[in-house]
Amino acid sequence: MTGGEAPEVIGELRQILARATGRDDLLGLPAQTPLFGAGVGLDSLTGTLLLREVQRRFGVDVAGEDLNLDALATLGTLAAFISKRTGGDGHPPG
């Protein structure tokens, strides 16, 4: 799956990530940029804020379903993970 399949979800994730990190420059983050490591530097604090907001907004418990947190590789992989569980439109089921 590529990030291109869920552009609206990616757009919303960019805003969540910018808020979690306090960095407005991440509003333009490409969907394929790694979130861990140099660049974004997602850590336990910003990662926890991101996961909490994803759960609140999309109803998806990433940490509960993905032991290695591979979904957090990039915004694209995270959007794909969410879309797969929400039927593609980013809205929680039901």
């Binding site: 530097g41 997602l42 850590d43 336990s44 990662g47 509960g64 379903e65 032991l67 290695n68």
Partner: protein
């Protein structure tokens, strides 16, 4: 469950009167409540305020009582919301807070909405100082300074919000120093306390008794490490620790890794994991393994492991490996990473001391 934070109502609870009804002369603090609060502070229990008053009331209460308040929620919303916000803000579970209010309706509201919190009247509070929930077995130097450290944390967070640069730049601006050293017997009470108190950053999920820690420090097959943290806002003392089983094979196994959630976001866990990987590589290991009890609480630790290149071992069953695989409860999962390649860089704010027998990076 041990209470880590007491959230106080002000009017007729911590104060002997009503703040807004007293004009130019706000009511004095209630001496019995201040005495109880000071006693709890000396045991490492922190204090916060949830009051239907303007924010000035919290400033007045701090000045009048001489207590440090780690958080203050002043406003006219529901007290249960204030309790939840304070717990979230301080990184505490809501079953680790007590709420003290003279108003029966406020107590009922908080009890109904946050049933896991301990809800007390001021009369209860005078007595509760002797209850086990308020009586930690050990009181370390870190515990006695805890209230003050939360006050320092508030100032740090306020500056972080204003700071324009990246997190690493902020850590440098704060003159953050993470010191990693071999543990000595003097560290045993604090290591034990960390094993009891830490949940978000704890791989074992079980308290380690002091004699067992002393034994591990003496054992030549183990390496016990403590991590200290300080910056220009204050000295947090020992905020983390780990136990490594050096093993005879080519793997080092971290049998216990723990860090205070107060140190979250300050580069400590990242520094410790990088240091462990470097030390293991230099010690001749090919793999660094970290068995971890996966719980809903220690997601922050899993994030740190993922960021540091650790992977959970493949499950025997095909399909996605999910923490929910084990319906019976939390599962012990082996996370590991190879340490044969180029060692991860240590952040610039890390200071290490070589231990006897094991060279620091």
């Amino acid at each position: 469950m041990m209470v880590k934070c007491v959230i106080w109502d002000l009017d007729h609870s911590l104060l002997a009167g009503v703040y807004l009804e007293s004009g130019a002369h706000p009511p004095p603090p209630d001496p019995a409540m201040v005495a109880a609060a000071a006693q709890l502070r000396d045991r490492g229990i922190i204090h916060a305020i949830a009051s239907r008053n303007p924010p000035e009331a919290a400033q007045y209460a701090a000045q009048a009582t001489g207590l440090d308040f780690a958080a203050a929620e002043c406003g006219w919303g529901r007290k249960s919301d204030a309790v939840r916000r304070i717990a979230a803000d301080l990184g505490l579970a809501t079953d680790a807070v007590a709420f003290v209010d003279d108003d029966l309706y406020e107590r009922a509201e908080v009890s109904a909405a946050v049933p896991e919190a301990l809800v007390l009247s001021p009369e209860d509070m005078a007595d509760a100082v002797g209850w086990p929930e308020f009586s930690p077995a050990v009181v370390t130097a870190e515990a006695r300074r805890r209230g003050q450290m939360y006050a320092e944390r508030r100032r740090r967070l306020e500056e972080a919000r204003e700071f324009a640069g990246s997190r690493d730049e902020f850590l440098r601006y704060c003159r953050t120093e993470v010191t990693i050293t071999p543990a000595t017997s003097a560290d045993v009470p604090r290591l034990h306390e960390l094993s009891v108190r830490t949940h978000q950053f704890n791989t074992a999920g079980a308290a380690v008794p002091e004699p067992a820690l002393r034994e591990l420090i003496r054992s030549p097959a183990h390496q016990v490490t403590v991590v200290r943290l300080s910056d220009r806002f204050g000295d947090d003392g020992v905020v983390g620790g780990c136990v490594v089983e050096l093993g005879s094979g080519r793997a080092w196994t971290v049998t216990l890794l723990m860090m205070s959630c107060r140190a979250m976001g300050r580069g400590v866990i990242q520094a410790l994991l990088a240091w462990l990987a470097r030390s293991a590589g230099q010690g001749g290991a090919a793999t660094l393994a970290i068995p971890c009890l996966v719980t809903p609480l220690n997601v922050p630790l899993r994030l740190a492991l993922a960021a540091a290149g650790f992977r959970a071992e493949e499950r025997a069953s095909p399909g996605e490996s999910s923490p929910r695989d084990n319906a019976a409860g939390p599962a012990m999962v082996l996370f590991s990473r190879p340490v044969t390649g180029p060692p991860p860089e240590l952040p610039g704010y890390v200071v290490t001391e070589a231990s006897s027998g094991v060279a620091g990076p």
